[in-house]
Amino acid sequence: MNERTPAVPAGPGRRMLAVALLAAAGACSEALPTVERDDLVRSGFATEVILEYDEFASGARVYGGYGRPSDLGAGFVAHDYGSRAGGGEGAQEGLEASSLLRFGRYPRSAQVLDTTGANVPDSMLTFLFGRLVLRFDSLSSVHNDEPVEIVAHALTEPWDGATAGWQYAIDSVGHRELWSVPGGGAVEEIGAAVWDPETGDSIRIRVDSAWIAAWADTTDNRRGVRVGTTTPGVRLRVTAALLRLETRPSVNPDTIVQVPSSTENRTFIYAPVPRPPLKTLRVGGVPAWRTVMDLDVPTVLDRPDELCEVVGCPVGITADHVSFAALRFTTRPGVRSFAPSDTLSLDLRSVLAPDFLPKSPLGPSLSGPFGTLVPPEWFQPPAAEVVEIPVTGLVRDLLRGETVDGDPVSGTIAVLSAFEPLSVEYMSFDGPTSPAAPTLRLVLNFSLDGGT
């Protein structure tokens, strides 16, 4: 054997090795062979379990008072809406509602055409009279397809645009003042108009110059307009209320121009105020109601039979087994005065500090940006429709004991309106003592030991 030492420089060897290693590291693309064939796949089993209220929840209760009518950004007018004649428990008082408006400072100047046709600013405006323009939501309003008389009254008593209600003109902390007459106190009629839903969605009511002059004093907290209706059995949603001022400019006195006035306060007052529910669950309304309950999802199941036959009971449930979970509520007709007349949306959030309820902060929405939509028909007698709110992520977190990010998870949840407050209408659901109490629907998956 020849053991001479060849003149092999070490450098090229290392370079070859480096090139080989780089090539090896770079060639890593891979595609596994894939086939559709039953006997190569482990067996799986999917089943659906409906847990009764007592099996997964407790402490269902309703909290109210979230938000104010002035937060809504819209108004309502109603007269004897939803009343039911007769004595005893069947009698229901009709809803009375009026919108209250307070207009702000009038414009001090406006761009107008002068006598030469030039567009010039004019700060010497003369306000002649006004027009109250009201626009209604023809879809969510309940008007029985009949013309509705709308009446505007001037308020004459001091009132607070943020806190005024049917009974109180001012209802802030430490300061309460009753209306002299519930529903806006002493008022003076401004004018009236008939809204025919078949001809449009808005009306105008003329406001004479005396009221326009009186409302120019923005320090007067009595100024304001109450918009109501005299037509019984209607509940209208007012989407816009504007005051347009008919104005004579100084640069062109022969013409009249319209300038808008700002709206300082817009709210609504109503009666009767719904009482807290005793046995039912409630979501929505203004101020809003929320339903809160404590979840305790079981980690061991011993039913249904089909699960036990295949997997064997008792069977442990982990977060991985839960492919879908949804809370199910059964709708109730509720009080007619506040029955939904338009689609509402439900949201579900974790209550982050249950000890501080009803003022606990809530977690992010678990129902997506638009919530779970619920059509109004589901609350018309006999109702009993099932509303399903997906809570898969929450249930998996509860079974895991923490979120996927490792944060603590709260077992207390609040069901509320997706936008709060959204409407004077609220949703009613069967409570925990009802045969149609809330349930939890689970879709569970398991893998089964097979031959592969």
Binding site: L21, E30, R42, F324, V443, T452
Partner: protein, 402 residues
Amino acid sequence: MSGPRRRGATASPDRARLAAALLVALAAAAPASAQSFLGFRALGVPVRALDARAAAAGNLGIGLAGVEISSADPAASARLLFPTFSVTMQPSWGSFDLDDQSGTSRTTRLPLLGIGYPVRSVGGVVTASLSGHLEQRWVAKRRSTVVLNEVEVDVEDSYRNDGGTSVLRVGWAQRIGSRLSLGASAGTYLGRLERVFDRELDSLAVGGEVYSFREQHAWNYSGYLVSAGFNADPHPLIHLAGAATWSGALRELPLDDAPGEGRYSVPVRLSAGTTARLSPRLALSLSGAYQDWAASDGFLAGVTSGRKWSYGAGAEWHVIDSESRSLPIRFGYRRLAPPFRFESEDPLESIWSLGAGLNLVETEDNRRLGWVDLAFERGSRRSAPLDERFLRATVTVGISRF
């Protein structure tokens, strides 16, 4: 102190550390991927841990003259002059037919890493290698329906198997005179298998966002094996080699909450090969191996194959053969017996191969000190109703005195 002798006879501590680091760094990449449905109820298909020279020449990894490092031949490295390292890379493209379905696959693997470290004072070589052994890498799907809430819901199941075993060996190859070498090695099985079961339900039918169900389990492999063998050159034109490998049980140990523990007996593997030099430039090689899996324990009934013999043959012709460099071309054929069936038919794997080498530096007696080998293989595996085909390229780079 003689500089040249010192450089040639022993390696510095730096080189030893480099060699060790290379082996460790590539260990993670070494597990190969056979990508076959064969043996889906057992341990998969064997990874043929061959370098490009043996692959091109239709050899089973034993009996090829002038081999530097072999995982199957513990005595092959006995005549190394210098510390030597080789790495083999193997991209492959596969296709299959199964019943009325067909599909493709592709992967790149590192089936063999090896190192030899001469200890001249005793005339032997320390060897170490990391080689592929068995692999199972495939995905199967199933579509079905379940009735939930009185609605028929589409379900898609997916089952992914990804893993296999490798063997880490350390051995000693000893020269006995100028014509005989003996070698022995001891190794341990390494590896991991992951099985992922995914189940997806049609979210539209269920009624909301549906989370897929995933169950993931993993197992580690362990066990040991020992090999012994010889290389002999009874005549200047004849090279002989033989080896036997005894293996303890291959154990499949569940990790975390994975179910079941597997314990599989691996039968003795006997292999032998020879190379006959027909002319200064032309050599023929034959090799064969015997391994009887039929009586192995731990497998489901009817899974192991009754075939016991694998063999291969090929030729190597030096097209260019200069004083210090040469360019051989090779071709060959192998007929292999994979140990596990797909269903009831004993599987058979046949491979035609072609390749070339570039021996960059050679000694006067044709010992290579730096080389690049390339092989192309076209093969098929069949175990009805499974029919698989593959095209495989193998590149081996080896250097001495690194």
